[in-house]
Symmetry: C2
Subunit: 399 residues, 2 copies
């Protein structure tokens, strides 16, 4: 009779062992911009990146690859991404539809400036990733906020509200899936409902932010909007990147997938600048992550799933009075603090009273001033300490 | 009695030893996008970068520094640049005036979008760096080309032409100094004349591209336009970077210096996106280059000066029928091929007949279709081979 030890992932052990001092030594933005607090306010993970990415960076150093982006590297990136999307999402994309951009927001800017009716408003389901409420305004567009629906099953898009906004003349809908900040992963039915609504309105595009697509937690599955149907493919302008899954946002490289033939034809003219703003090292790193990062990503997802389980329990234990839906994807949690009846923003409250820096829900849309966004991609003991401190702050407040 | 051997720079020997096969192994854009030809069409140098930059990249790998740009790194970059500008150009800049942007062109876009009268035309002295003739149009602006003056003393700005363009309503002048593509370095008198002209016209800005400022060859000296006078400082919106001197264009990091108080005040609002498009690794590399790259840069400048001497002789020997002014800065030469009376662009001619890829002068402004731009920052034997092949092509054509 042999005892079978549970298989332990050595990466999980290594990540469990990262403490706050080590995080501060690395001085990432999350652990240095608000030096007096534990950082949970910006969507970056604390687990480093895949060894393949580090190897790609060393190769860049070896061949002094800091120059302008060569054609061969763009071709490799297109192939690496389309292979990744095929294996992971069963998605078939022609490589020439994949464009390189510096970040997902550059894709949104392109969609607004070149793929929508001039001056048409932009539909932003809320709560929303904060820049989605800033960039359209900066580009001279009105925003129509459409609050997502929420019930015991969690968050979902409001097709009736979106239909009304399109009826009122909006030309673009922003779809963030997996969703930042709620952690919701859209179902096929939900996406099909959106596509049906959009199809009623001539020429409307859907800007699909799938930056968290590789970060879907079991049992949820990622479904790329453009693969729903030929109609959805014509509507979709899809952006994704390795920046969330592989912790590379500072490398400035993302992908824009143009599944609409007109959008693709226009890119050669309208996308010139956006295409030249991506970094060459970022392209090399994205290739390595997509091609060789699978095993590391599997470890990461396992760890994030265990962190989510931990977070569920920690919230139940320490923050049970807050509204919370267990995230289905991303490493972001969205907490409703309205039961605290604070006379300040909950982010300010947790910063001062718990020493934890979270994002202010007010920046995510009208009606969310009592919410906070918490990034839970941090080593387990650090996450425990954060939630415990937040719990103590709440108990003191309620005492 | 001791014999004193001439001091040989080991870097110069190493650079002399780089051959075409090694350049192709590194597959930079210049040596791979036009695989059948020798590359001289894009302004990147073939000598790698300073050891301090490589060390900074290794440090990024060690601390997984691929995340969002933290405040401390922006502060370091500002300090590193202002120290560099003080030591090198005797220029005193308040660090908070230095902003981070992905590339010089992002600075031009910012200047056009936010710092000029809406709709006002842009003055572009020609010949010009090609994107200066594209970006204003893309942003909805008319371009007024003002050809530079040329005589036996070389190239210089035409203040009368610029004055007329401003009188006609232009709101921005693009000043590229050191000048791409002519290699001209502006004198104090020339810059003062421009500033006097600009000052006659209310609210006009000068976008000052000083990306080649560290690459001025003896005996020329770089003078930063904003340091001329308080008036010039108010006019100037200055962009620079390590990308030319240290061969880092693919890292997407440059600096924008806002010497006008109004421009500085507006940055917090209008510069948010541009500031977030710079890469974090690029910022780390720029800091290393500015702080610790001095000795390597001195070697590079010595080598570029010797290459220029070589180029002067090679042109005299092989291309004497072309118009040529020995460059005072940059690693770019501008060749007038009109005496060849080609019935095609000289770039097409040299590509086919010499296997050398140079830039087509037609893209640098009206009236320059008979010119080519040649990047001479390549190992000495490679440069010799290029010019010899171009010379043979010319002799065959003239035979």
């Amino acid at each position: 009779m042999t005892a079978v030890a549970p298989r332990i992932d050595p990466l999980h052990q290594a990540w469990d062992a990262i403490d706050e001092a080590e995080l501060r030594r690395r001085h990432s933005l999350k652990w240095s911009d608000v030096p007096e607090a534990m950082g949970a306010f910006i969507a970056e993970a604390d687990f480093g990146t895949a060894p393949a990415v580090d190897a790609a960076m060393r190769d860049v150093i070896d061949r002094a690859g800091y120059g302008y982006l060569p054609q061969w590297l763009l071709a490799e990136l297109r192939e690496a991404y389309t292979d990744f999307a095929r294996e992971r999402y069963g998605q078939s994309i022609a490589p020439e539809r994949v464009q390189i951009i510096p970040d997902v927001l550059a894709g949104l800017e392109h969609a607004i400036n070149y793929l929508t009716r001039p001056g048409s408003p932009v539909v932003v389901p809320t709560p929303a990733y904060m820049p989605f409420l800033e960039i359209p305004v900066r580009l001279g567009r009105e925003i129509i906020e459409v609050p997502m629906l929420h019930d015991d099953a969690g968050w979902r898009l409001d097709p009736v509200g979106i239909d009304a906004a399109l009826e009122a003349g909006a030309g673009l809908v922003i779809l963030c899936n997996p969703h930042n900040p709620t952690g919701h992963v859209a179902s096929r039915a939900e996406l099909e409902e959106l596509s049906t609504v959009v199809e009623k309105h001539e020429g409307v595009r859907v800007f699909v932010d799938e930056i968290h697509a590789p970060v879907v937690l079991g049992p949820a599955r990622h479904l790329s909007y453009a693969t729903l149907s030929p109609a959805a493919a014509r509507q979709a302008v899809t952006a994704t990147s390795t920046s969330k899954a592989f912790a590379l946002p500072g490398l400035k490289c993302a992908q824009l997938i143009l599944s609409n033939d007109d959008d693709l034809a226009g890119w050669a003219q309208d996308g010139v600048r956006a295409g030249k703003l991506a970094s060459t090292v970022g392209a090399a790193a994205n290739v390595a992550a997509y091609r060789e990062g699978g095993a590391w990503l599997a470890s990461l997802l396992g760890y994030l799933e265990s962190l989510r389980t931990e977070l569920d329990a920690l919230v139940e234990q320490h923050l049970a009075c807050l509204g919370y839906d267990s995230p289905e994807g991303t490493y972001i949690a969205w907490l409703d603090c309205s039961s605290l009846h604070l006379n300040e923003s909950p982010a300010a409250f947790f910063l001062r009273e718990a020493g934890v820096a979270v994002s202010d829900g007010a920046a995510c849309g009208a009606g969310f001033a009592a919410h906070v966004r918490l990034v839970f991609a941090t080593p387990r003991p650090v996450l425990r300490s954060m939630i415990e401190r937040m719990g103590e702050a709440v108990r003191r407040h309620q005492a």
